[in-house]
């Protein structure tokens, strides 16, 4: 599609005058575009990756739950799979509660409360 566009569009000389400058509401940009950003993004990403990994780990046991319940897999009791699921959910809840209580899920500290006490 980019190729088709290259064939169709008229040739023009880019970046004449102010055209190439980043658009910041018509003002000239001040300072570097790569600002320092809130460290919260990072903490959320760390919490996310652990949850994501747990998710990948629980998919295989989840797929055999139906067969275990219907008794189609000999030697595999549904109780075992259920226990596994329960442990999985329990660990996720434990992690979530830890982050919640310590205020890691708050975006703005001090406004919405739940600031950890030192």
């Amino acid at each position: 599609m980019m190729g088709a566009g290259a064939l169709l569009r008229p040739r023009s000389k880019s970046n004449i005058g102010d055209k190439g400058i980043a658009y910041e509401c018509g003002e000239l940009p001040v300072g570097s575009a790569w600002v320092k950003f809130n460290i919260r993004f990072y903490v959320i990403a760390i919490v996310f990756i652990v949850f994501d990994v747990e998710m990948a780990a629980i998919f295989p046991p989840a797929t055999i739950f139906r067969d275990a319940v219907l008794g189609q897999t000999p030697g595999l009791s549904p109780a075992l799979v259920f226990l596994e699921l329960f442990l999985f959910v329990g660990l996720l809840v434990a992690g979530l509660i830890y982050c919640w209580v310590r205020g890691d899920l708050e975006w703005v500290k001090g406004i919405t409360g739940a600031v950890p006490k030192k």
């Binding site: 903490v43 652990v50 295989p60 500290k109």
Partner: protein
């Protein structure tokens, strides 16, 4: 497997190696991590061809969707230490290490070739049947029978990693 399919796998392997070379040698850390993303994708394609469909999916979800994002966040957070071009100056040992490393490949290859020759002489009986099996359920059963203990240990390890990492990263 038809030659066309093999060609696709070969292209994925080339992509993997080329991206891995960029990861190791590109001076710009951001570009290195972007090529790491492509190396992950190439490895995922290799997994698919090795009959590991679920592992390939997990690879993409965990690495491309998780680790790469985390690394990009880290680079963007710390980039001002490295000015705009994100140049990473190689350590003092840099160039000798590269030479030794590349020299290591033939030695590794020799060991590997003997191993592969041995394996191809003694393959397991029903490889073909195994290759076409949907793996997710099989992995699930393995995780709940032979590998229960390691699996639980890893789940707890992940909880520990979460608590530790969040404690380290928490702004204070």
């Amino acid at each position: 497997m038809s030659n066309g399919l093999k060609l696709v796998l070969f292209a994925a392997q080339l992509l993997t190696v080329a991206s891995a070379i960029l990861v190791a040698l590109h001076p710009n850390v951001l570009y290195a991590s972007v090529s790491l993303l492509f190396a992950f994708l190439g490895v995922a394609v290799m997994f698919v061809y090795a009959g590991a469909d679920f592992i390939a999916g997990a690879q993409v979800i965990v690495y491309v969707g998780g680790v790469t994002i985390l690394i990009l966040f880290a680079i963007m957070l710390t980039q001002w230490l490295y000015k705009m071009n994100l140049k990473d100056v190689p350590a003092k040992l840099g160039i000798p290490v590269v030479i030794v490393g590349v020299g290591l490949i033939p030695a590794l290859y020799k060991v590997m070739r003997e191993l592969a020759a041995f394996v191809e002489k003694n393959p397991a009986p029903d490889l073909e049947k195994f290759a076409n099996l949907p793996k997710t359920g099989v992995i699930g059963q393995a995780l709940l029978s032979n590998y229960v203990l390691p699996f639980e240990a890893i789940t707890i390890l992940l909880l520990g990693a979460l608590v530790g990492a969040v404690w380290l990263a928490r702004p204070r």
